[in-house]
């Protein structure tokens, strides 16, 4: 009887120590779920979800404070990916946040730019190059198409243009669209 109690107590002590050590040794920094969610978001940093960037939105989703359907740039694909990750039902995009649009790129009309630097301060990814009273220009490769530079511009010289397809980024069309109707008769 006594040996049994002793044995169990010692074992409990050992396991307790082990668990305690493991919790310190293998401590995960940050919030892994928010990280995973952040990976799925398009990183436009546009704020259409009402959070100041993709990271805060992903943290809000992880904490259960925000819904998964608030990201218009990601659209349906992102909602589906988030639903798969979090094992919840996918739902249609919240129209309060905006609608899904084709990918665009900001272009500065360089003749009209007065060099006020307001757009530079607004750009979340530092994709605008310029200095006070100098012409500004957009680094096309870095622009996420978030449209945040549009409202601050006092002369309205920034336009959003649809990104043009070129033969190198062209994708083969989905053949299933043709054969689904025929293939799925069963």
């Amino acid at each position: 009887m006594l040996t049994a109690i002793l044995a169990i107590t010692i074992m409990a002590l050992i396991f307790g120590l082990l668990l305690g050590y493991a919790s310190i040794r293998f401590k995960v920094e940050g919030d892994p779920i928010a990280d995973q969610i952040d990976k799925l978001l398009p990183q436009t940093q546009c704020g259409q979800c009402s959070f100041p960037g993709c990271r805060p939105y992903s943290e809000a989703i992880a904490a259960g404070e925000a819904d998964i359907n608030r990201c218009p740039p990601g659209g349906e694909a992102t909602i589906q990916a988030l639903a798969d990750l979090l094992e919840v039902e996918a739902k249609p995009l919240d129209e309060e946040c905006g609608i899904e649009k084709p990918k665009t790129l900001a272009v500065i009309d360089e003749d009209r730019c007065i060099g006020c630097t307001l757009c530079i301060q607004a750009c979340p990814v530092d994709a605008i190059l310029g200095a006070a009273k100098q012409m500004h220009t957009i680094i096309a490769d870095e622009c996420t198409g978030c449209e945040l530079c549009l409202p601050p511009c006092p002369v309205d010289c920034i336009d959003m243009v649809e990104t043009k397809l070129n033969p190198n980024t062209w994708r083969w069309p989905d053949p299933a669209r043709v054969d689904i109707q025929v293939g799925d008769q069963s």
């Binding site: 952040d38 990183q43 062209w170």
Partner: protein, 508 residues
Amino acid sequence: MTAKQHTFVGGLKLDGHKKRSTQTAIHKIPLSKKLILPLQQHIGEASLPIVEVGDKVLKGQKIARADGHVSVYLHAPSSGTVTAIDDQPIPHPSGLSACCITIETDGEDRWIERQKTEDFTTLSEHEIRQTLREAGIVGLGGAGFPSFIKLNPGVHHHVETLIINGVECEPYITCDDMLMRERASGILDGIEIMQYALRVKNCIIAIEDNKPEAIAAMELALATRSHLNNTSIISVPTRYPAGSEKQLIQVVTGKQVPSHGLPIDLGIVCHNVGTSYAISRAIIHGEPLISRIVTITGKQVNKAGNFETLFGTPMHELLAFCDTKRQADEPFILGGPMMGYNLSGDHLPVTKTANCILVGVEDAAPAVDPLPCIRCGECATVCPVSLLPQQLYWHSRAKDLDKTREYNLFDCIECGCCSYVCPSKIPLVHYFRFAKTETMNQELETQKSDNARIRHENRLERQEAEKKEKAERQRQRKLALAATKAAKEKEEAEKAKTAEPQSDDQEK
């Protein structure tokens, strides 16, 4: 000729349909009034124009330079005036446009000064590669990979064998066949240059056994060069796709190029016979790559044959020259029936990779809607890379891109054997191409969003640091202000103190 033959798995025995286009010698296509030259006719970065609209150019003059390492120069195929540098439709399955240089020819066809090299051994290996890069030489077998890179094995690789690909396994195409029949000596010159640049002695010229004339011509030419005693010609059995690089290496050496690997990992470099001929023209005669031999054949072509065509020549001129019966909007195939793709417009230019124009495939099966897969497994039997096309099909169709990767989608050479044998007529290769471009696009998007995340984080960090710095500066200023204030007060107090005794003195 009697080397031990190996083989690759799968593959098909196809009807060659090569007779029609090999009846006549190689002809030249008459000079076109307008030549349209896409800046990207090779794998890698597009070239950068170095001429302007209105410039007069000579035949063989450089008009665009290489941009980055994997890129080559582009040349004017004839003398004339540059009339435009803008987006023009290019031969591509997308039907999209890309930047092209348009030259209006003056009919004089005047050459720029050519630097001939009688003895190429006076050049260093590096100079040869540089010359080939500046001559715009790319693989003419179909892929268009810059040749100078393949002639640079690097210090970590030792090249043991050079394989010259004269297999030309796809039905209808005969441009390499005719080239070997008529210009065998030039091909051998190119081989000697490549052997010199790669410092390799062994060379195997592989030709499919359905081209006895080409084999005879090459052997005759080889017999006159006693110093090429380590070069041999082997005839390989006719079986599609024996001309695909990896399959050919397997047939010739019995070795398999590993997945994600390159032939150079096995000490092998493989070049097409057309490329070899272009190399000899570039080094010995100083002529850059400005033309190629194009097979024009098919049921609707009355005068089928092989034609030496300047790049940029619009295809409708070729088709008219060969007396082709074709409706204006009827699609035709660029490349062979297995790997080629449909083009709808005929004003597209001939490019470096255009080996065949096929109008009207003989006994072509009528286009039918695909039926459900019956899991017969024929596709897996014929796949020359031992993939499981059926599994790849399910996953591509479900857009499960990770799964298609697990099944090695990127090892698929898109030879078309699986689609060919499929009893349900499922366009399997189309599915695989779709899944490949989707995967590549997804990777690009991930890369872009990762980049945006990093840039955003850096910005936040910088803003945070700026804020801290500002606060620090304010604190310092406050402190300094307080210090000066305190000092002043102290001074005043001291003054008051010293003033008091003075007044005392005065009182005294």
